[in-house]
Symmetry: C2
Subunit: 105 residues, 2 copies
């Protein structure tokens, strides 16, 4: 069994200082050992029609599903989620066991 | 500068054999050297409300944006995109330089 992934795509509300939200998220994942790695990005390339207003992707990786479950119920995550929810206009979450179909050489 | 990522989240139409679409996608990325790695997953965890009907995530990684651009215009990708578009009910694409905020130990 491979890694378990927690993927969030979001559009922030007007006026939100995204850098501050990101700072909070980086602190969150660095404070919680269950999070194996964390990557994020801001769309710069796709056509507006295809990104449908979403601008940011956040991808957390866990060694196993149990680590993800521990992360979700961690008090720091519960607290951060409330802040994050207030900052976003729309969001999609997907949580899945990752299949590595082509590995980096 | 880190990796460049191409993220697709999708909901397939009723009746689509997802395994066949996946087989085509795996062949596509294995045939094109510009694709550094490819992971995908099917959501098993998040609440229906939060995944908003989306079921699958596909994440391709490139060493640099130019490799992504080469992939997008590759004839095999152009051909596959037509097949893929016919199979999906909805989709969001995000293309971004990835920021690795927490690296795996």
């Amino acid at each position: 069994m491979g890694d378990f992934k927690h993927l969030v795509i979001a559009k922030f509300k007007d006026g939100v200082v995204v850098e501050e939200v990101l700072k909070g998220m980086e602190k969150l994942v660095s404070d919680i050992d269950a999070v194996k790695s964390f990557e994020w990005g801001q769309d710069i390339e796709s056509q507006e029609m295809l990104r449908q207003g979403f601008t940011h992707a956040f991808l957390m990786t866990f060694n196993k599903k149990e680590d993800f479950t521990a992360f979700v119920s961690h008090p720091n995550h519960v607290e951060f989620s409330a802040t994050f929810s207030a900052a976003i206009e729309k969001i999609v979450l997907l949580d899945f066991p990752a299949v590595l179909a082509k590995a980096p050489k």
